[in-house]
Homo-oligomer: 210 residues x 4
DNA sequence: GATGAATGAGCTTTCATTCAT
DNA sequence: GATGAATGAAAGCTCATTCAT
């Protein structure tokens, strides 16, 4: 368990000053992911940091503001990774494989954050929720563009509905959020390999003349 | 609150006494699905029924008990439907198609309930959460058994990992919980057709000799 | 001290149900008057009633709402009394005397309320503050109209500025809010008599030809 | 809050060190007058100075100490002005006019301070409140002495109650604290003239033989 | 069956204050 | 002189729950 132990600061101030805010965002992500935004208290977050609850408010205007930070933290990075792949060389199949693999890698590395983005962002107030949603739609559009161009070029099956396919890809790739780490013997790499295999070829054996 | 006059709805009343409890479960499902279990108050549930908040406690011992009822309501039905298909005639491909279609139909009909089962059951206390989890695992096992027999019989690709494939099927089929009704022009039927198509054949065109 | 002792309810429920809200308004008035709105806590109000603090919120949406009730409670009555006099018989001098006397009587009877109206209403949110201010201005206008008609008729000195005179009358009549009950041997009746005497004749002896 | 860059105002700084404390007293007076002592935060005071909140504590031991400074600041000056007039030449009528005029002038010049003295001093702890109260009573006694001697000499009406008259004079003279600056077209000079006129002659026309 | 009244526990947030630097 | 960081205490408010009626 890479998170349970040893995170109590040595005294007040042990890391750089900018770092403290990030520590809080990380603790908030972990706590919100575990208990849900509304099920978690700011005290829970403080406990995880060995901090007094009131001190959190030195760094964040409100609990909501902390959730917003959590949700914004990695969205940008995931989009950039996807964009790089989408703008790189290779056909639609290679691109999609790359995007899926990257997505699952991010998910494995930053599970708490992704959980918050997917499940807790809806509790944000309208405005900041809008900001996250726009980012997510940008991400979706990148993937959908790859799929559309694949369909057009014949790299993907011509009878696909691009929109539903995009939603399906995301649904599939986000699913591990619910069970990652709980399925013994299943690593992110396993999942990535299996999902790519499944997405591209399906679960039925090759259909020669279809 | 001393708010003088009445508010009794004319409609809902006049049904049997057993029916009232079900109305409450339905209201709770809707409210918990919309606001999250912890984000919803019992007052929210009462409001939706034109009832006083204290009256809910005539029907339910606690908020948690209501959530448990919500989560248990349809799980049984979904399992039965899956079992029927699994025990019926046809190969693994047909069975899987049938199960996916049924699942999506249930999801479309009882969206609020499924949302609660998927997202809110984790807030139940250990014991009742265990009960739901056991039901879900029974459901999964039915599907996994179909997949395993399909792999064994060659109806499905032999290089699949049955466990991950099962998780993938569920991940895919549960995904619409997040966007059903928000994607204009996409019906449950569309989704079912697309998902079956995708699951079985993947998104890349047929690969003759693999 | 007509308020210090014996107000603890015998059990829960001892007075009528509508009465409870009024008791709270009265307690709030007393507490806000004594400690200032921001210096008083809802706990202080609850303590004075032998009630739990949370129970206040069964009757009032917020601390601010309680202050609003306090401020609105007697304003209407004071205006009505003034209107009655203003619309009654008699010259401007008699009317003004009557209004001053009534005002001081109200002030003596409902000291805590008047203190809140005068000192604490400014802490209300814009909207409800506006409501109180409008009532106060209506009150002022009644008095100013009497003064203006008095000046016009010659019942009052012709060289007066009606506006400043009105403000002066109110300033004088509200002043006892700061010391009523603290000046030994000075009753409301004394004050009323003295103020009328002063207002009408001033403190210098009669000036025959001015 | 980790807010990187500077905010030091170019203007205020560069004065002597003693001056800074006075700036703070002035800012505190303005803020306390506007929001009330308990409604104002030390942050509000710091904001008004472009200062960090913690820095205030270099100059003042506590918020209360700042209020005490505010309340003491001008009381002495007002008393001295009153004493000068009281000990000067002229009859009671002239002296009273002078005192009233001076009081209103002070009030106009130092509105925030006077507001705090009148409305906020009651929130001081016993001891320092006592100090202010003693000063106020000294002030009152000076005025009351003038009134008493005026009554004795016949310069003022013989049927007056000296105590109530003193309270009335103060009540009247302090009233503008509530509306000064909000009554369009009314200057301190107007008020002074009107109040003297009113106090001495009342609002009814001269009564020759009373 | 249903509700008005009440409450204990807990929540987010604010704030005056301290202190090392 | 001034400040960033932290904190204890308390505030207003919400909420699930209880209970007499």
């Amino acid at each position: 368990m890479p998170q349970g132990a040893a995170m109590r600061a040595a005294g007040p101030r042990a890391n750089g000053p900018r770092r403290r805010a990030e520590e809080i965002v990380e603790a908030a992500a972990a706590v919100f992911a575990e208990k849900g935004y509304h099920g978690a208290s700011t005290q829970d977050v403080a406990d995880r940091l060995g901090m007094r609850q009131a001190s959190l408010y030195y760094y964040f205007r409100s609990k909501e503001a902390a959730l917003e930070q959590v949700c914004l933290r990695d969205v940008g990075m995931m989009i950039e990774r996807a964009l790089e792949v989408a703008n790189g060389d290779g056909g639609a199949v290679e691109k999609l494989s790359g995007i899926v693999r990257n997505h699952l890698l991010s998910l494995g590395e930053r599970l708490a954050f992704v959980r918050c983005i997917l499940r807790e962002r809806r509790f944000l107030p309208k405005e900041s929720r809008g900001r996250i949603n726009r980012a997510m739609r940008r991400y979706e559009r990148i993937v959908q563009a790859v799929i559309e161009s694949g369909i057009a070029s014949g790299a993907l099956r011509r009878d696909l509905d691009a929109r539903v396919t995009t939603l399906a890809v995301f649904g599939l790739c986000n699913a591990p959020v619910d069970w990652l780490g709980k399925e013994p013997g299943v690593t992110v790499e396993d999942i990535a390999r299996s999902f790519v295999q499944l997405l591209l070829g399906g679960i039925a054996p090759g259909r020669a003349g279809r």
